[in-house]
């Protein structure tokens, strides 16, 4: 797959302090920073190195992270920072997250890895009932803001039920945590550093499909991309498309095909799903009058429903057509049927056309 959107010099934040001071967005020319061509897992690896380097009270742990992790995101960390700070845990997600909450509650940064998002559910109680409510229930006497939970998510071509899931919708329904999903290596590094340094517990889903597939110029320095700020990555006038993660690549291809047929598409990367940037999407839909949302997760109850309902409330009179959702089917993620299950480029293109021609 081609590198993503690297032709645009997009806005990046200037490096923030280690304690998450307010970030300022400026446009920089791509040539002025030292960049390196990296894939997604390398970019994430860089972010983790920087996180551990800049805060001596930060830890990275989870199953198999010691040798570098099953996706190589944690390569070199244990050797560099020591086994006290980077270590394997027993095979127990509720223990991993619970232990992380304890560390974070004592003022540390705990960057925990869940090996596949499909296995995050044993930790659901700790995430929803504990991490998300830790500050609120204590009257702000305690907090576990230093907790960041990383997990690979999404289709990979052959993952089936338990190596392909997109569980973001479950977590978007939980006040008190943040949910962040990067679309590319450059985005991932900046968003992960922001997530780690954000004083709230964050669930960070990494599109595993892009770990090796996506290659991009990634600045080598310490930089952060702000949370809860969506980005218009392609401007257009006829229809707004909203997505996140790996799905944006597919959507971008659909936008290119639509352009050949004279349809001008505006493409938005939501980046943070909770709390999400309603204003950017609203402004775009007020301009285009049409909205299409696409995600791999099953359509019923997916996060697209939240976006659709909100935009309907805010932009009803500006809408020229119903909000369209091009998503996964309401089935467990199938193996041999994956090409039929997925919200493909052509499904999106069809939906763009029918929305525009409504």
């Amino acid at each position: 797959m081609a590198s993503l959107l690297s032709r645009f010099c997009r806005k990046v934040a200037v490096p923030g302090s280690a304690h998450g001071a307010r970030m300022v967005s400026t446009t920089t020319s791509c040539g002025s920073e030292t960049v390196k061509s990296l894939n997604l897992y390398s970019a994430i690896n860089q972010a983790l190195h920087i996180a551990l380097e800049t805060d001596p009270r930060s830890y990275v742990f989870g199953e198999d992270v010691g040798f570098g992790g099953v996706f190589r995101c944690t390569t070199g960390l244990a050797e560099r920072f020591g086994k006290n700070r980077v270590f394997n845990t027993p095979l127990c997600e509720q223990g991993i997250v619970g232990f992380g909450i304890g560390l974070a509650a004592m003022g540390n940064r705990a960057v925990v890895e869940i090996q596949f998002a499909d296995y995050i559910y044993p930790a659901f109680d700790q995430i929803v009932n504990e991490a998300a409510k830790f500050r609120y229930r204590s009257g702000n006497q305690f907090n576990c803001g230093g907790l960041t939970i990383r997990a690979p998510y999404g289709a990979v071509g052959h993952g089936g039920h338990y190596h392909s899931q997109s569980p973001e919708a479950f977590f978007c329904h939980v006040p008190g945590i943040k949910v962040v999903i990067p679309r590319s290596p450059r985005e991932a590094k900046g968003l992960l550093l922001s997530s780690i340094r954000d004083p709230n517990p964050v669930v960070f889903f990494e599109p595993k499909w892009l770990y090796r597939q996506a290659v991009e110029e990634v600045p080598e320095h310490d930089y952060m991309i702000p949370l809860s700020e969506a980005e218009v990555i392609r401007e257009g006038n006829d229809i707004t498309l909203v997505g996140w993660g790996a799905q944006l690549t597919v959507m971008e291809q659909a936008c290119l095909d639509a352009e050949k047929e004279g349809i001008s598409c505006e493409l938005i990367d939501l980046k943070t799903l909770l709390p999400w940037d309603k204003e950017t999407v609203e402004a775009s839909v007020k301009k285009t009058g049409r909205l299409l949302i696409s995600h791999e997760a099953p359509v019923t109850g997916g996060f697209g429903a939240e976006i659709s309902a909100t935009i309907l409330e805010r932009c009803f009179l500006k809408l020229e057509a119903p909000v369209s959702r091009v998503c996964g089917l309401d089935t467990p993620f199938p193996l041999v049927f994956e090409p039929f299950y997925m919200p493909t480029k052509n499904k999106i293109l069809d939906a763009i056309k029918s929305t525009v021609n409504y």
Binding site: P90, A105, N108, N129, G139, F142, P175, K178
Partner: protein, 472 residues
């Protein structure tokens, strides 16, 4: 300090003798050829192939515990190498029995009449400490009684008592240092009381008024105080256990002279988080003291419906955790055990498990009537004859440190203070409405600002729909 450690070593070795267990309790040396199993009696019947008669292997107490290992000098030829380490092998097919024929005995210092059992191991308790401990146990009793009544009168919405578990609450707290971080379940307010949380502060949380540190967000008894190193109570069971492992690890990394101390009931040990918490603490070598209050009941579920093991103490070894069973109604035993466990945890950087045997005299909570599932006689028996407060009181009195006059003065003044605290808390200003929206995140997010704005408009327009007193 040096004196304490010397004593502790003696204490620990005599503990070993008195309890009649083998070397595993205190010092486990994996490199020695000595076996590491307890003195199990193997009474399993070994079924060989159908063509041989089965061997009925019944052994009396063995003088040597190594029933599943070959004798020493045959070791070298008879060991197998596995990723987990060297292990002896045997051609006898023997199953470790599901239970030992003898339950792990329970450590106690005071007998039922409040006298110290001769030659018992224990950490001496000074008059000052003993009196304070007793006063706090009595205070906890009065507090429980009055708050329970306040709920019955409809003044607070909910309460749960620690009746019967006063020794666990107070004596364990007394054995800790203020820097030890406590992660409670919910039946340990005495630990917070010991650390200096006032009756007024307890009342404020129960009423959820403006002075409540929790800002009125949780049900009564969900106390928390960062000042007192007492994590805020949360209703889900056992979630605090893996968190305690993380807290202990943090303290270890900071090289603090402190440990994490966490509490759980007998029911809570069935939760997955119990397994997670103990396993993580053991693998991470975190200084954590796990205290299980085995009070016989998880709401209406008796322990016979909770597990089939010999209680909780035997589970420690499964995780590689040193464990002890203690008479939870014996304040001196609780004090000694927790002191020792705490020292081990901190100096050896390891978790320790303490199972405290006790009885839940009260109902599970004000939403429960336990006479529906247990005999009133049983409750009465434990309340009167096995009362931990009375037992300790007897010892304190026999030492000449406490009188009936002290008793009535304490009870009446505490009662008065509590009634005043409740009256004041009831009248206290309510939380401002904005506290509904704060602290969800560190900074209020846009959606919450919008919702707050919308709610304020609604309340101003239709105040009769909402309870009064919540300032906008």
């Amino acid at each position: 300090m040096a004196i304490w450690f010397a004593r502790s070593r003696n204490l620990v070795s005599s503990l070993r003798q008195n309890l009649g267990l083998s070397a595993i309790l205190i010092k486990r040396n994996y490199t020695s050829p000595r076996p590491v199993f307890t003195n199990y009696q193997l009474s399993s019947r070994v079924f060989l192939n159908p063509f041989t008669s089965f061997r009925h292997e019944s052994t009396a107490v063995e003088t040597q515990p190594d029933l599943v290992q070959q004798s020493d000098h045959e070791d070298d030829a008879q060991e197998l190498d596995f990723p987990g380490g060297k292990v002896g092998y045997t051609s006898e097919m023997k199953f470790i029995p599901e239970s030992s024929s003898r339950r792990i005995p329970c450590y106690r210092v005071l007998n039922e009449h409040g006298s110290i059992i001769p030659n018992s191991d224990h950490v001496p308790v000074s008059e000052k400490l003993a009196v304070r401990m007793y006063e706090q146990m009595a205070t906890l009793q009065v507090m429980d009684h009055i708050f329970y009544e306040a709920q019955r009168q409809g003044r607070i919405s909910f309460y749960l008592t620690s009746v019967g578990e006063e020794a666990i609450n107070i004596a364990s707290a007394a054995a800790l240092s203020p820097e030890d971080v406590v992660l409670p379940q919910y039946r340990e307010p005495g630990v917070l009381l010991w650390r200096g949380f006032t009756l007024e502060e307890f009342a404020n949380q129960c009423f959820g008024n403006k002075a409540d540190y929790g800002k009125g967000r949780q049900m009564p008894i969900h106390y928390g105080s960062n000042q007192h190193n007492y994590f805020t109570v949360s209703s889900p069971i056992a979630t605090q256990l893996p968190q305690a492992a993380g807290v202990g690890y943090a303290l270890k990394m900071e090289k603090k002279n402190a440990c994490a101390v966490t509490f759980i009931g007998d029911g809570g040990t069935s939760e997955g988080d119990f397994h997670a918490g103990l396993n993580f603490a053991a693998v991470m070598e975190a200084p954590v003291v796990f205290i299980c209050r085995n009070n016989g009941w998880a709401i209406s579920t008796h322990i016979s419906e909770q597990f089939r093991s010999d209680g909780i103490v035997v589970k420690g070894q499964a995780y590689g955790i040193r464990s002890i069973r203690v008479d939870g109604n014996d304040a001196l035993a609780v004090y000694s055990a927790v002191r020792s466990a705490r020292e081990m945890a901190v100096t050896e950087q390891r978790p320790v498990l303490i199972e405290m045997m006790t009885y839940r005299v009260g109902h599970h909570s004000t939403s429960d009537d336990s006479t529906k599932y247990r005999e009133a006689d049983e409750i009465q028996y434990w309340k009167m004859s096995r009362n931990p407060v009375n037992r300790f009181k007897k010892w304190v009195e026999d030492n000449g440190w406490w009188s009936e006059e002290d008793e009535s003065k304490l009870r009446s003044s505490t009662r008065k203070q509590l009634l005043q605290a409740i009256q004041a808390a009831e009248k206290w200003e309510k939380q401002p409405l904005t506290e509904l929206f704060n602290d969800v995140y560190d900074v209020k997010t846009k959606n919450l600002e919008e919702q707050e704005h919308g709610l304020k408009e609604l309340v101003e327009k239709q105040p009769q729909d909402y309870p009064p007193g919540f300032h906008i």
